[in-house]
């Protein structure tokens, strides 16, 4: 229980003009163990001292700061004690009428909600696991893995590099040379593998296990345990975070019979050409003679629905590079390139110009009509060319520039309930769905990099490896401080389960987007604290309400709901409860406020970590209390989901059935509950959404439970 609660009210930003501050001060000062103070500008430089004194004087251990939105000045109002923010400026004043009775009621309701909440929360201390490993395991010894290892080791961290082949290098071993990597981007780069292996060997803090495969990964960030099979031995290693760098596998050219692969001996893939060049002999497979002309077909099996629908990002530059190989070693051999678009983007435009500028290199846009063999020569007929007519080119060899697919099978063998490997986005890549957060992962502490994450070339793979290693390092440092990872950075709260009431229904285990929960034989969930992202989706899912967080739990929100004043049923003033997701929707409300967009003062907003954290009980509590309607504002679900916790808002839709049951039991209309997906820049729609909803509620009538 609280001892003394302090309420600080800011009258700046016109809050004093909108509200009768004296009335509020008087009202709350009268309460037992509550101390109220108001100030003209709580955020000014001098306030820090004033607030310190206030806390000291009255022995405050719970503080309410009724001022601006909690999105601002979180650091400045952190005095080490429990603090609740009441957004008088953004949620009470700006969207509503000055000195209006309803605005006053709104302000008092929010203060009451905070008082209620404070009784049921405490400041989290942060869970720090014992025996944290500061090793980062890199699964895969191709260029991404090697580069990640070097970057991490160079920053002073212990690295465990696991590679299934006998030698490190991955596909880099097969390459003769690389595309240009530095200005002026016209010269091929020598294969960097020897140099990279050299760099790798210079670090004492890299442990390299070759001919090794991970057969099981268990644990949590800071404390992963990896069972590694090396030849016949099983080794156990510990790691703080993991980077998946298992690379790609080339698209099977066998699928491209329409381009003659497998039919004509002299139709080969770009990988096969690279091997030939590396061995120093470019010869026709059919008769071992030197080819007089070689034709490249771009986008072979890429950008097509029946093959790989995406672009692999490297084949255009790769073909240009291979053209250079051919031209350098066979002076009289012509090179033809049939393309859709030459994707030598950015600075590689210079490389494109360089390769083009050769008498015996010929490029045209075109679609391959068919390939035939006539008199031991391949005749490739091309349509939709730049010549305005179809052409037939005679070539000795055809090279198919095939794409890449991610190598995501049987690598990590995660001992997670939700699956053995990292979840994938479209096309099986382990990419993050977020543009701004490319390393965002659905398995906390396990990141991916390189071509397993997204199609990319070597230059990008190396850059990617650095970025992923930064996140892996950061993960360890955050775990050491008891903090969670993206997006609730800085959050130290932890989930707790009251096992006495747990019925092993496994809903939390299944619905956690991050696989935080393991389960024992009975099906009872096991908490892996550092995997937790503190979204509280599990809390929302639990029908028995056994899950809680120190500063966000079932009771704290229930008490908030119950503390709202309910007008008499005859007053004809509805009460709407709005659960607003803190990520996109809540800032949208703040921005609407900054533009002084007006909406109804009958709405009571409770910010939640994710719409998925909304528990059914809150709905029944709200309806029992007399709320006429409930709005749920969250981030967009679907293919282009914006939900920061992957499927929180999607779950709300799925749970709508359960919620419907609640309403049915109470004999209330299902239309009283509405889910709205709001993007952060749609703040201008808020007034119309709320007004429209209120009209609907008006038609439905007041909640009959009001006043009971």
């Amino acid at each position: 229980m609280n001892e003394n609660t302090g309420i600080l009210i800011c009258t700046g930003c016109q809050i004093g003009d909108y509200l009768d501050i004296d009335a509020i001060t008087t009202k709350y000062s009268g309460r037992d163990k509550v101390f109220v103070k108001h100030d003209a500008q709580l955020c000014s430089c001098n306030s820090g001292k004033m607030i310190h004194d206030f806390i000291e004087t009255y022995n405050i251990d719970s503080l309410i700061v009724a001022a601006c939105s909690p999105r601002y000045f979180a650091k400045e109002f952190d005095f080490g004690i429990k603090t609740e923010r009441v957004s008088l400026r953004e949620l009470v004043c700006y969207p509503h009428q000055k000195k209006h009775e309803d605005t006053m009621t709104l302000a008092e309701d929010y203060i009451n909600m905070s008082l209620a909440k404070l009784a049921y929360i405490k400041n989290p201390e942060g869970f720090v696991p014992e025996n944290i490993s500061e090793t980062i395991c890199v699964a895969g010894g191709g260029i991404s893995g090697i580069q990640a290892a070097i970057e991490g080791a160079h920053a002073g961290y212990q690295i465990l590099l696991v590679e299934k082949e006998k030698e490190l290098g991955g596909w880099l071993k097969n390459l003769h040379k690389l595309s240009p990597m530095k200005p002026p981007f016209t010269k091929l780069t020598d294969n960097i593998l020897p140099q990279k292996l050299q760099e790798l060997s210079q670090f004492a803090n890299i442990e390299c296990l070759t001919e090794s495969e991970i057969i099981k990964t268990s644990g949590q960030p800071g404390c992963f345990t990896l069972k590694i099979k090396q030849n016949e031995q099983i080794i156990e290693k510990k790691a703080g975070s993991i980077i998946l760098a298992s690379g790609f596998k080339p698209y099977e050219a066998q699928n491209l019979t329409e381009l003659g692969y497998g039919i004509f001996q002299n139709v080969i893939s770009s990988i096969e050409l690279e091997s030939m060049v590396k061995e120093g002999k470019i010869l026709k497979p059919s008769d071992g003679q030197q080819p007089e002309s070689i034709l490249f077909i771009q986008c072979a099996g890429s950008r097509k629905q029946n093959h790989l629908p995406y672009c692999s990002n490297f084949c255009c530059n790769n073909t240009l590079k291979q053209s250079r190989y051919i031209r350098e070693s066979l002076a009289e051999t012509s090179v033809f390139i049939i393309y859709n678009d030459i994707r030598a983007s950015g600075r590689m435009e210079s490389f494109y110009k360089e390769i083009q500028n050769d008498d015996l290199v010929f490029l045209t846009k075109g679609e391959i009509n068919k390939i035939e063999e006539i008199d031991k020569k391949l005749n490739i007929s091309v349509k939709d060319t730049l010549f305005g007519e179809d052409i037939v080119i005679e070539a000795d060899m055809v090279v198919l520039a095939t794409g890449m697919q991610p190598n995501n099978d049987h690598v990590l063998h995660l001992n997670y309930r939700l699956g053995e490997e990292l979840p994938v986005l479209k096309y099986n890549f382990t990419d993050s769905h977020f543009i701004c957060f490319p390393y965002e992962t659905r398995r906390t502490g396990i990141f991916s990099t390189g071509t397993v994450r997204a199609p990319m070339d070597i230059t990008e793979s190396m850059a990617d490896a650095g970025g992923a290693m930064m996140k892996a390092i950061q993960c360890i440092e955050l775990v050491k401080r008891g903090e969670t990872l993206h997006p609730r950075l800085g959050d130290k709260s932890s989930p707790e389960i009251n096992f006495l009431r747990c019925t092993d229904c496994k809903r939390c285990t299944e619905e956690c987007p991050f696989g935080m929960y393991d389960e024992n034989e009975k099906g009872t969930p096991i908490i892996n604290h550092t995997r937790c992202r503190r979204c509280a989706i599990c809390m929302g899912a639990c029908p028995e309400r056994v899950i809680s967080f120190e500063n966000f739990n079932i009771q704290s929100v229930s008490e908030m709901i119950k503390s709202v004043s309910m007008p008499d049923e005859f007053e004809e003033k509805p009460r709407i409860l709005a659960f607003v997701c803190e990520n996109d929707a809540y800032p949208a409300f703040d921005m609407a406020a900054s533009k002084k967009l007006k909406y109804s003062a009958f709405v009571r907003i409770i910010p939640v970590r994710c719409l998925g954290s909304v528990n059914k009980i809150w709905i029944s509590d709200a309806l029992s209390k007399g709320f006429d309607g409930i709005l749920l504002f969250g981030c967009k679900p679907g293919e282009n989901y914006q939900c920061h916790f992957i499927h929180g808002s999607e779950l709300t839709e799925k749970r709508a059935e359960n919620i419907g049951e609640v309403l049915q039991k109470m004999m209330l209309e299902p239309e009283r509950i509405k889910t709205v997906f709001l993007e952060i820049n749609e703040y201008d729609k808020i007034p119309q959404i709320i007004d429209h909803y209120l009209e609907e509620i008006n038609l439905l009538g007041m909640n009959p439970f009001k006043g009971m």
């Binding site: 970057e151 983007s345 957060f437 850059a463 440092e477 950075l489 800085g490 990520n583 996109d584 914006q642």
Partner: protein, 412 residues
């Protein structure tokens, strides 16, 4: 035990912010300087990212919250790098910090803007709108406070804002302070600006309001933009019936930018899809040389190809003409059909390219990007100041350079 480093990051766009946060959350001490009065750089002006068509402010909000909640980051706006000197183990840096007329006491109440008598061209909207000299750059701005454009402010000759500000947040002092500090490493993330389309002859950019650049069109899509988020012609505010996108306007051209700007094709696809969703039956033509979208962005291309009224024509737009009735038409060669064509257009969008915003004192390569190899040890560059890349790649690179910045001293 973490070996805490002190890092200076020059430039507060998405790259700088990302690098700063990755470092600060790992536990290092970061000072982020930005020459404007606010952070956000170019992405704050975007309305949508490709290929998800999601709002950039979503990610920015998250990042700004992370900055607000982090004790390891110090932000200095209106500050530029003056000089640096390599000392034994670190860099002695001089930062030139210009005094801002509005200080941190500002609560964004907006009273100063209400009374301000001076108008200025709004650079946030590329000069297509005006704001008062006292203005809020954008609703989600960080730091959340108003700014005064000191180049147009009448200062003591007016002083109306001084009278109405209840928080003592305004003072007119024209001074700069030189701060001397020490850092273990420096990251340059000064970003880019759009190429001046006025330099491209034959496209007549400066001569008709309905010929806009892609970055200007991006602003048209924003509710804070010149047309409140409506896609209308700037000339007569009517909804356009036909839009033509001109790719490689100034890029891949030795007379302008010789390199490819890498992002314009994806940006155009994004614009085309959004325009076709917002305006029923608008006829959209995209004139390109090569459609350079790669990886995931290919989905965007597929999506656009499925929309009936978007047509893709291989053929660079050679001329944008303005006739005597002030109507626009575009001349191009439809290369696959072998026809020289001229089509009318209500609106022309020039996909202009990226020019890196380099910092003086750091060597650039043959195409004016910062050459990483020529940077002194301990100084790094990230983002589009190094090469033309999109947001996702910038963020990726920022993470990597952040890691490099804490490595450089680890071995010593």
């Amino acid at each position: 035990m973490l070996n805490q480093k002190k890092i200076l990051i020059v430039g507060g766009g998405i790259s700088g912010i990302t690098a700063a946060l990755e470092l600060a959350e790992t536990g290092h001490c970061v000072t982020l300087i930005e020459k404007k009065t606010y952070l956000g750089g170019n992405v704050a002006k975007f309305s949508y990212y490709f290929p998800k068509l999601c709002p950039p402010h979503c990610g920015l909000e998250l990042n700004f919250q992370r900055i607000r909640n982090n004790h390891n980051i110090r932000i200095l706006t209106s500050t530029v790098l003056d000089t640096y000197k390599k000392t034994d183990k670190s860099f002695e840096v001089k930062l030139n910090s210009k005094h801002e007329f509005i200080n941190n006491n500002c609560t964004s109440c907006g009273k100063c803007a209400e009374v301000c008598p001076v108008e200025r061209s709004d650079d946030f909207n590329y000069g297509l709108t005006k704001t008062k000299a006292a203005f809020l750059p954008y609703p989600l701005v960080f730091p959340y406070k108003y700014s005064i454009d000191d180049s147009v402010c009448k200062q003591e000759n007016c002083g109306l804002c001084l009278d109405v500000c209840p928080y003592n947040a305004i003072s007119f002092e024209n001074k700069s302070t030189l701060l001397t500090e020490e850092f273990d490493s420096i990251i340059l993330s000064t970003g880019w600006q759009a190429y001046d389309a006025g330099k491209i002859e034959n496209l007549n950019y400066a001569f008709h309001p309905d010929i806009v650049t892609n970055v200007e069109f991006e602003r048209l899509l924003s509710p804070e933009g010149p047309t409140n988020g409506q896609i209308v012609k700037l000339s007569d505010k009517k909804v356009p019936e036909s839009i033509v996108f001109v790719q490689c306007a100034g890029s891949r051209d030795i007379n302008h930018l010789p390199y490819c700007s890498a992002v314009c094709c994806s940006a155009t696809l994004k614009h085309a899809i959004i325009a076709s969703e917002k305006i029923k039956n608008v006829k959209i033509t995209i004139l390109y040389i090569d459609l350079r979208v790669s990886g995931r962005n290919e989905d965007l291309l597929q999506k656009a190809k499925e929309i009936n009224h978007i047509s893709f024509i291989k053929g660079k737009a050679g001329k944008v003409n303005i006739d005597l009735q002030n109507n626009l038409d575009i001349e191009y060669e439809d290369i696959l059909k072998g026809k020289k064509c001229k089509i009318p257009a209500d609106m022309v969008i020039l996909a202009t390219g990226i020019v890196p915003s380099t910092v003086s004192g750091f060597k650039t390569d043959n195409e004016l990007f910062i050459d990483e190899e020529l940077l002194p040890q301990g100084i790094f560059a990230t983002g589009s100041v190094k090469k033309p890349i999109d947001v996702s790649a910038s963020v990726k690179d920022a993470g990597r350079m952040a890691l490099k910045s804490i490595q450089s001293m680890a071995n010593e």
